[in-house]
Amino acid sequence: MDYAAILKAVAALGGLGILFGLVLSFADKKFAVPVDERFTLVREAVAGANCGACGYAGCDAYAQAVVKGEADISLCTPGGQATLDALAAIMQKESAVAEVQVARVLCQGETGVVKPRYDYKGPKTCHMAVSLSGGPNLCNWSCVGLGDCVRVCRFDAMRIENGIVVIDENKCTACGMCVLECPRSVLRLLPKAARVTVRCRNEARPKEAREACSKACIACKLCEKACAYDAIHVNNNVARIDPAKCTLCGECVKVCPMKCIEQLP
């Protein structure tokens, strides 16, 4: 065997490899672009879901904006309190207490509860369904349950059950993508601590509301009378709770004849 030939090949290729390696490592030093070290730290501290809740193109873009001081440090909702504290430490800013929010469904229009207007057989998207003569449900404020919000949720926190969307509070990060997506604004971001919510937005006259849905708010004002803290009021034919005043006593839930106020455990 001709060992010289083998050695020649090894030496030539090895030599080339070492040469390129040296040139590249030299170039790496020579052409190094100084990166703000805070950028790396910030990028690691944010949630990294690339969900867009902050309003930037992705976590990289948000981290860059934070380092430049263009963006507020509290915009990363999926990261929650931990991210806020970390960013405050990195950027040497005051850390505020983040109010934990979750998305809530302001509708109880399950199949059988809300009356159908017609049998919808079109493409399975809410946007399409609601644009067809007021939507498949008799209530113009109801969830149509075709899952546009489920498709935009990056956190697997939503699912459709009995023709209505259900949110897993533990998985929801309040990124707000579903709120933007919902063509009916059925979804709202509300403080997680607000356990009592009026799950109806029907602003129609009480008679029409009652005809459309068996769990609609009929603006009877019994809840207003029952509330000792001035926290619930009927406006535009629908009751609304002020989370700041609500003490979670549950009196309104007891008196509501339509069962449209819900108290979560």
């Binding site: 030539a12 080339l16 590249l24 170039a27 020579k30 052409f31 190094a32 672009v33």
Partner: protein, 196 residues
């Protein structure tokens, strides 16, 4: 081959149209199909490929004629050329990041992809097979890449229009793209014999 204006023009037509890398050599089809959904990004990819193919032709020529041939190890041509191309792409990326950040941002994600573009390896090996000298090698690289640029931009233009046209469901997406690539290839066959 002597460098005259006639030769130069014939060579250019030959590289860009007749022996187009995609439509008649079928090299570089991956980025051709992968990065051709928008004209803008397709043009970015094309320019990045032009840049790298020109430089790769130059460096592989030097490696082949000054290292591989004198040592009689020209059977290592493939592996050593891949080494050269990979190192070159890395170097170009670093260089651009430092000196031309705007161009780097425009090409950014496409540059590393070029390492695995077989058209680059193809052109360097063709240079050796056709016994081009250094000048013709570089011209072959640059014009070959311009042919690639032409092909990918044309394809992106067609695919942008496909987005809004009514295509049978079974043909949507890649199937219709492949049909179109085939038709374009047949159309480019019309240049056969030109510039040789």
């Amino acid at each position: 081959m002597e460098f005259t204006l006639t030769n130069f023009l014939l060579f250019m037509v030959n590289c860009v149209l007749t022996n187009n890398f995609i439509f008649s050599r079928y090299l570089g089809c991956c980025p051709f199909l992968g990065v051709s959904s928008k004209v803008e990004t397709a043009a970015g990819m094309g320019i990045a490929v032009t840049f790298v193919m020109g430089l790769a032709s130059l460096f592989t020529y030097a490696v082949y004629h000054y290292i591989l041939v004198p040592l009689q190890i020209s059977y290592l041509i493939t592996i050593s050329f891949i080494l050269v191309i990979a190192a070159l792409v890395q170097f170009v990326e670093m260089f651009l990041k430092k000196s031309m950040p705007s161009l780097y941002n425009a090409l950014g994600i496409y540059l590393p992809l070029i390492t695995t573009n077989c058209a680059v390896l193809g052109v360097t090996i063709l240079n050796i097979d056709n016994k081009y000298n250094m000048l013709w090698s570089v011209l072959n690289g640059v014009f070959g890449a311009l042919g690639f640029l032409l092909a990918i931009v044309l394809m992106a233009g067609v695919r942008e229009r496909l987005e809004s046209s009514n295509i049978p469901k079974a043909f949507k997406g890649f199937p219709i793209s492949l049909v179109i690539a085939g038709l374009m290839s047949v159309a480019f066959l019309g240049f056969a014999g030109l510039g040789n």
